[in-house]
C-alpha cells in the first residue's frame, strides 16, 4: 500500500507538471490562447512574401509595413466569406471611423489597416477593389492585398499561425483576429475581434512611441 501511495503521488506530480506545461501554468487552454501569449512575449517577423492589391503594386510585405511611425492592424479574410469576415469587415469599418475622427496630426497617426486575403487565387486585385468599395474602405487608411504566390501565402499563414480550414461547402473557417504589426514587420500582438478598442489604442500607443 505504501508503494501504491508513492506511485500515486509520483503520478500526480507528473500529471501536474504535464498539465502545467500544456496550459502554460494554467493560463491558456486553447492553441489560439497559446499563440497570443507567445506573440506577446516574443514578436514574430513576417517572412519574405510579396503582396499586391488595389493601390499596392507587387512588393514585399515587410516593405509595405515599413515606414517611420507606421503600425498596421492586419486581418485575414476571403471575399466570398459570408460569416466571420463580414464581422471582421464591420470591426475594421468601425476602426477606420475612429481613425478618421482621430486624424489630423494627432499622436498615433501612423496606424493603418490592412486586410490580407488568404484566398489569393480567387481574390484578384479587381475583386479586392470591389470588395473594398462595398465596405466603404478609405484607401488612405484601409487597404486590401493578396499574396499572389500560393507557397508564400502558406508560409505567411504558417508563420503568423493563421489556421484556415476548408468547411466542405466551398468556404473556410479561420481563427479570425486583429494582428498588430510594427514598422519592422513584426507581429507584436494578437487581439480578439471583440477587443477592437484595445487593439486600436495599443496600435496608436505603439505608433506614437515610434514617432518620438
Amino acid at each position: 500500500m505504501l508503494r501504491t501511495a508513492l506511485a500515486a503521488a509520483l503520478l500526480a506530480c507528473a500529471g501536474y507538471a504535464g498539465a502545467s506545461w500544456l496550459t502554460d501554468d494554467f493560463q491558456i487552454w486553447t492553441a489560439e490562447g497559446a499563440r497570443r501569449l507567445e506573440v506577446a512575449l516574443q514578436p514574430v517577423s513576417v517572412p519574405a512574401v510579396r503582396i499586391e492589391g488595389p493601390g499596392i503594386p507587387v512588393q514585399p510585405l515587410a516593405a509595405w509595413l515599413h515606414a517611420p511611425g507606421r503600425v498596421t492592424v492586419v486581418d485575414f479574410i476571403y471575399t466570398r466569406c459570408e460569416t466571420l469576415c463580414l464581422s471582421l469587415g464591420g470591426v475594421f469599418q468601425q476602426m477606420q471611423r475612429r481613425l478618421q475622427q482621430g486624424g489630423g496630426g494627432g499622436a498615433g497617426d501612423g496606424v493603418r489597416l490592412l486586410s490580407i486575403s488568404f484566398d489569393g487565387e480567387h481574390d484578384t486585385p479587381d475583386r479586392l477593389a470591389a470588395y473594398a468599395r462595398g465596405l466603404g474602405a478609405d484607401p488612405a487608411l484601409w487597404q486590401f492585398a493578396r499574396v499572389p504566390d500560393a507557397h508564400e501565402s502558406a508560409a505567411l499563414l504558417r508563420r503568423l499561425q493563421v489556421v484556415v480550414v476548408p468547411d466542405g461547402r466551398g468556404g473556410y473557417e479561420h481563427n479570425a483576429a486583429l494582428l498588430v504589426l510594427d514598422a519592422h514587420g513584426r507581429l507584436v500582438r494578437v487581439f480578439d475581434l471583440a477587443e477592437q478598442e484595445l487593439a486600436l489604442n495599443y496600435a496608436r500607443h505603439l505608433a506614437a512611441k515610434g514617432d518620438a
Binding site: 508503494r3 503520478l11 500529471g15 486553447t30 492553441a31 473557417e173
Partner: protein, 211 residues
C-alpha cells in the same frame, strides 16, 4: 475483462493484434484520416489506442503482473494514471498541438497506449468503490467538456470546424451518460447477486453445516 480465472491459452495473438493496431494507427494515412475531424480524433483514434494498449498489456506475464500489482494496490495508481492522461488529452490545446508538433503527437500515442494498459491491469483489482471514484471523476469531466464543446459559439481548436466541435460535444455527453448507466447496471447486478448468495446461505444453513 479477464477475471481472476487463469488466463485461457490464447497464445500471443491479442498482443500481436494490439501491436498491429497501434502500428496501423501510427501510419500517416490512418492518422490523416482519423485526425481530419475532431470527432474522429477524440472518439475513434483515442479509444482505438486505448484498446491497443489494453491488448498489449496482455503481454505482461504473471510475474510482471504481481510485481506491478505491488505498486498498484486496488488499481489506484493505474486508474489515477489513466484518469490523468484522459483529462490532459481533453485540453483543447493538446488536440491542436498533436497536429502540428510531432513530439506531442508521439507523446499522445504513448500516453494513450499506457492508459489503455493501465485500465486493463487496474479495473478488476479496483473493485466497485475505486471504480466508482474513477468514473465519478472522469465521466462528469467528459460531460462538462462535452457541454462546453456543444454550446461554444467560438471554435476552441484552430484546426477544426465549429459544427464538428458541437457534434463531438453531444457525443461526449451521450457517452458519459451511457458509461454511467452501464456501470450502475453492473453495480446493481453485483449487489443483487451478492444478496441472492447471502439469502441462499441464510436459507440453507444446515445444508452448509453438514458439509
Amino acid at each position: 475483462m479477464n477475471g481472476h480465472r487463469p488466463q485461457p491459452r490464447l497464445g500471443g495473438w491479442p498482443m500481436v493484434a494490439g501491436g498491429l493496431l497501434a502500428a496501423l494507427l501510427a501510419l500517416p494515412p490512418a492518422r490523416a484520416l482519423l485526425e481530419a475531424s475532431m470527432l474522429r480524433h477524440m472518439l475513434l483514434q483515442a479509444p482505438l489506442l486505448l484498446l491497443a494498449g489494453a491488448l498489449l498489456a496482455g503481454a505482461a506475464g504473471p510475474q510482471a503482473r504481481t510485481a506491478m500489482a505491488r505498486w498498484n494496490a486496488y488499481g489506484i495508481s493505474g486508474l489515477l494514471a489513466a484518469g490523468g492522461i484522459l483529462s490532459l488529452l481533453m485540453v483543447p490545446r493538446a488536440l491542436d498541438l498533436a497536429l502540428v508538433a510531432p513530439p506531442v503527437e508521439a507523446a499522445k500515442f504513448v500516453l494513450l497506449l499506457l492508459a489503455g494498459a493501465a485500465l486493463r491491469l487496474s479495473w478488476q483489482p479496483a473493485g466497485l468503490l475505486v471504480q466508482g471514484f474513477f468514473l465519478g471523476n472522469v465521466l462528469p469531466m467528459m460531460a462538462v467538456a462535452g457541454q462546453l464543446y456543444a454550446d461554444s459559439t467560438v471554435r476552441i481548436c484552430n484546426a477544426y470546424l465549429l459544427d464538428d466541435q458541437a457534434r463531438l460535444g453531444e457525443w461526449l455527453i451521450a457517452l458519459a451518460c451511457g458509461f454511467a448507466v452501464v456501470w450502475l447496471a453492473q453495480v446493481a447486478r453485483t449487489m443483487v447477486l451478492r444478496d441472492a448468495h447471502a439469502a441462499a446461505l441464510d436459507a440453507a444453513p444446515t445444508l452448509l453445516l453438514k458439509k
